[in-house]
Symmetry: none
Subunit: 221 residues, 2 copies
Amino acid sequence: MHLLLVEDDAMLGEAVCDGARQGGWTIDHVCDAPAARLALIDHAYAAVLLDIGLPGESGLSVLRAMRGRYDPTPVLMLTARGQLSERIHGLDAGADDYIVKPFQFDELWARVRSVIRRSQGRVIPVFSHGDIEVDRSRRVVSKAGVEVTLSAHEYRTLLALLERPGHVVTRDHLQDAVYGSASAVESNTIAVFIHQLRRKLGDDLIRTVHGHGYVVGQPRP
Amino acid sequence: MHLLLVEDDAMLGEAVCDGARQGGWTIDHVCDAPAARLALIDHAYAAVLLDIGLPGESGLSVLRAMRGRYDPTPVLMLTARGQLSERIHGLDAGADDYIVKPFQFDELWARVRSVIRRSQGRVIPVFSHGDIEVDRSRRVVSKAGVEVTLSAHEYRTLLALLERPGHVVTRDHLQDAVYGSASAVESNTIAVFIHQLRRKLGDDLIRTVHGHGYVVGQPRP
DNA sequence: CTCGGGCTTAAAGAGATATTAAAAACTCTG
DNA sequence: CAGAGTTTTTAATATCTCTTTAAGCCCGAG
């Protein structure tokens, strides 16, 4: 079981990571919202432990982005004492539970187990389109049952497209998905990734919409 | 039959070890949770005698870690009188039985025999992948029926990989598996162990996933 | 037909991983 | 307790993969 911890306090973060590993989980730790975004694109986690009070971009916006693209991964908010409105906003935005800092670790793990258990009914998404399948929990992509290896950037590009089948995804959006919103790249990297994806997965999967971007999905009538 | 005793009280520990040897068992004795973790990775024991009230990290977390990775080794908790909640948590976390300190040795051995007998039905895992076999109870690895000798660190690295076939295991996770969570090593030790494993077991077993870690492929169906 | 966006390619630059070999730390044995 | 043999760590180098760049070609829209 893979968890994601989004927490800027290094001490607390380390402690939570240790605890998680002792509990038999594996856990990734990121310190800010942009990193969290990228991690969530890369993997399907069993649950996310999300500090709301992040420096810069708030944890809430990460949560909103997740729910905006129908990512059902359970989210447990970590909030500071007294921030009642944060909690309300969080639950409103689709968090599954919250715990107030400072907390007992035992309680934290109990809540994590609880949100995971409650989410068992939900399906962990395995994107598929035609003979292409993406298992996000293993980070494995296959075509006609044969495993295909993708680089990190190729994988992120593909996921960003598969998340909205039938919708045109702009180059800018893809750039965000690959590099985070602080996109500092020039040149035609996205075009190159698209080209690699087509080479590895076949020309039919990704259609280009001239002047707009790319689509995965049924040809529009 | 091999037992593991996790107990910080030196006197009691010695006494239990003596008793076990007289009873025809062999027994390893460790004094804290991290040591217990490592011992459990190294060997498959017939049973674990686990003191819950350890200094530092609780015995419960050891138990949870075991069950978290589906280690079916029977666990007999040693608890102090009156710690009812500990006992409940322990059984909850997957302990097989408990005994209250101070105890009669006769009763202890009766309970040990009992949990071992009850566990006979369970399967002691023998990992295998292709022509590679790992017998955890004997700590023996063989390739195509020929025994291969691995050093302690190589063995731990291999087990950490085999525990999640088909999943990418990060370098950090391997580091934890080899050194415990207080990983204080620099340099590329993990890379070296992987290299040795490939040399001894063949290049096909462990695949590297660039930027993520290593995978042992799913056993061919 | 022309223009601009899109595609393809190859190669340089980064970054990650593999491979060594030797030093340091253990272990075992006499 | 010393010395031989092993394991573990370090570190430097080599190799490989991924990423980015840039230049030229192709194609669609107007």
